[in-house]
């Protein structure tokens, strides 16, 4: 099992969710995060006072999948989240030791 973590542009969320649904991903967790990378920040201006905003709003998606699904899931996220401009985000894949469904106590791939 793998934990797939994707950082994406906020406006791409619906596209990514649909794409994941199509490849059979049943659940994702989304958090609003801020980040700093190659996209850099932007400038805000209030009555002549200029502020550089370094951290930009992004969304972090997390989903646990069985190892054989990883390739399709990554492909789906890339397809849906690409805008072609700097700042489209990243995907991190890490090994997942165990998954447990709280309601039933099921473990492993059953619980995903």
């Amino acid at each position: 099992m793998k934990l797939i973590t994707a950082i994406i542009k906020p406006f791409k969320l619906d596209d990514v969710r649909e794409a994941l649904h199509e490849v059979g991903v049943n659940g994702i967790t989304v958090s609003e995060v801020r980040g700093y990378g190659r996209q850099k920040g932007h400038t805000e201006l209030y009555r002549g006072a200029e502020y550089n905003v370094d951290f930009l709003p992004k969304l972090k998606l997390e989903t646990a999948v069985s190892s054989d699904m990883v390739e399709r899931v990554v492909e789906a996220i890339i397809q849906a989240a690409t805008s072609g401009k700097i700042g489209d985000g990243k995907i991190f894949i890490s090994s997942l030791e165990e998954v447990i469904r709280i309601r039933t106590g099921e473990t492993g791939a059953q619980a995903i």
């Binding site: 805000e44 201006l45 209030y46 009555r47 002549g48 006072a49 502020y51 905003v53």
Partner: protein
């Protein structure tokens, strides 16, 4: 009070060249229901400017952790000034003249005022509440200068002393038959009494209190510019009560005051937006509303005396001058007038006060200069009015602030400032979104 109405009447008559007719008798005051209906409405509009107009305008511009504190300050000022007004402020401003400087205490606790008391063609009760709403918004404007760092207790004490020792006398000088009205200073709705006065007090407060922690390097972004735009819209609408109401009658003068107010405000808003668009590449919402308020301020002293074309010029001039002051000069000098109470109200009020002396000229579409008064004379009178207000207000405000600082301290602690005044001073938050 009576003096003021006769003075206004004389100004109105002079527009028709009647002031020079010798021995003209002013008819006995009779209640006019049209005037009364309009003045009750106008009074409600001016109160609406402070709560919630100005309060929202300011709350949106401060950081989220201080948003409630500025609304609270405007609200308590409304309450405190209302109570003080009926106790003695009305009398200090509009009681019998004492040496041209202040009113006596003959009207303290509204002595002698009944349902039948008249002020011109309206009930004195209505006149008194109308003027009360001006005494409310003036100190509320100062809140913008010391926002985000002043102790609530010190703020309340300062405002109580300030309306008593600064606002009431200056209102008397200009509107209560005091020495500035004797000098022929024209201030229709309060460019000097309200805006220069509040702006200068704000500047002094900003200087005495010192900068907010981290200013100007730490970002201090407005918490909610939607509230600021809503508040600015309410100020604009309420301002018709302020300016057209200052005619104290439902007549052509009030109508013209309404027209010039609308025109000057729009011109100033567009000017500020255009300057920002040219300079920074984008027009901004905060910019256009800042320009609108600058225009409202500048047309205030002129609104009963000038025509619509002059209003365009006054609006554009005010938008231009206030823009450069707020965006350039303040940044350069580096004092921390949090929400630009001085940059918009002080500077805009000054621009309006001086230009009133120019555009009152009948040749420029105005209601006309008084007999034997040249434009240069009038402009000189306007400078005297503005200058006297600036000096008196600055000196007394400075002394009051220093005294309060020595006795109870003006500023919250650094920790409290970091935490935000909402929690530090009120144990509440403006936003509990989670």
């Amino acid at each position: 009070m009576k003096m003021m109405n006769s003075r206004k009447l004389m100004i109105r008559l002079s527009a028709f060249g009647l002031a020079a007719i010798p021995g003209i008798a002013l008819a006995e005051d009779v209640l006019d229901s049209g005037d009364t209906a309009w003045m009750i409405t106008a009074t409600a509009l001016v109160l609406f400017m402070t709560i919630p107009g100005l309060s929202l305008f300011y709350a949106g511009m401060v950081r989220a952790k201080n948003a409630l504190s500025v609304m609270m300050q405007c609200f308590v000022i409304t309450c405190a000034v209302s109570v003080l007004w009926v106790m003695y402020l009305y009398s200090l401003a509009f009681g019998n003249d004492v040496g041209g400087f202040v009113g006596d205490l003959s009207k303290a606790f509204l002595a002698g005022m009944t349902v039948d008391s008249l002020s011109g063609t309206i009930p004195e009760s209505v006149f008194s509440v109308f003027q009360m709403t001006f005494a409310i918004i003036t100190p509320a404007l100062i809140v913008g200068a010391f926002a985000e760092r002043m102790k609530f207790s010190a703020m309340l004490l300062f405002i109580i002393l300030w309306v008593s020792l600064v606002y009431a006398p200056i209102a008397h000088w200009v509107w209560g038959g005091g020495w500035l009205s004797e000098k022929g200073v024209l201030d229709f709705a309060g460019g000097t009494v309200v805006h220069i006065n509040a702006g200068v007090a704000g500047l002094v407060a900003a200087l005495v209190l010192g900068k907010r922690r981290g200013y100007p390097n730490h970002p201090m972004k407005p918490s909610n510019l939607l509230l600021t735009m809503v508040g600015a819209g309410m100020l604009w609408v309420g301002w018709f009560g302020f300016n057209a109401g200052s005619q104290l009658a439902a007549d052509g003068g009030a109508g013209m005051a309404m027209l010039v107010t609308q025109v000057a405000t729009a011109a100033a808003a567009l000017t500020w937006m255009a300057l920002e668009w040219i300079r920074y590449g984008k027009p901004s919402a905060l910019g256009i509303v800042s320009g609108a308020v600058a225009g409202l301020v500048a047309i205030t002293p002129a609104s009963g005396f000038v025509g619509p074309m002059a209003a365009l010029v006054i609006g554009a001039a005010s938008g231009l001058v206030c823009y450069f002051f707020v965006v350039k000069v303040k940044q350069k000098i580096g004092y921390d007038d949090s929400l630009d109470a001085f940059g918009v109200h002080g500077i805009g009020g000054f621009v309006g006060a001086i230009l009133t002396g120019v555009f009152v000229d009948a040749g420029l579409g105005g209601s006309g200069l008084a007999d034997g008064v040249s434009m240069a004379d009038q402009v000189r009178a306007q400078f005297i009015g503005a200058g006297a207000t600036i000096v008196y207000c600055a000196v007394v405000s400075y002394v009051l602030l220093k005294l309060i600082d020595a006795v109870i301290g003006l500023r919250v602690t650094e920790e409290q400032e970091e935490e935000g005044l909402d929690l530090a001073q009120h144990d509440e938050r403006a936003y509990n979104l989670h």
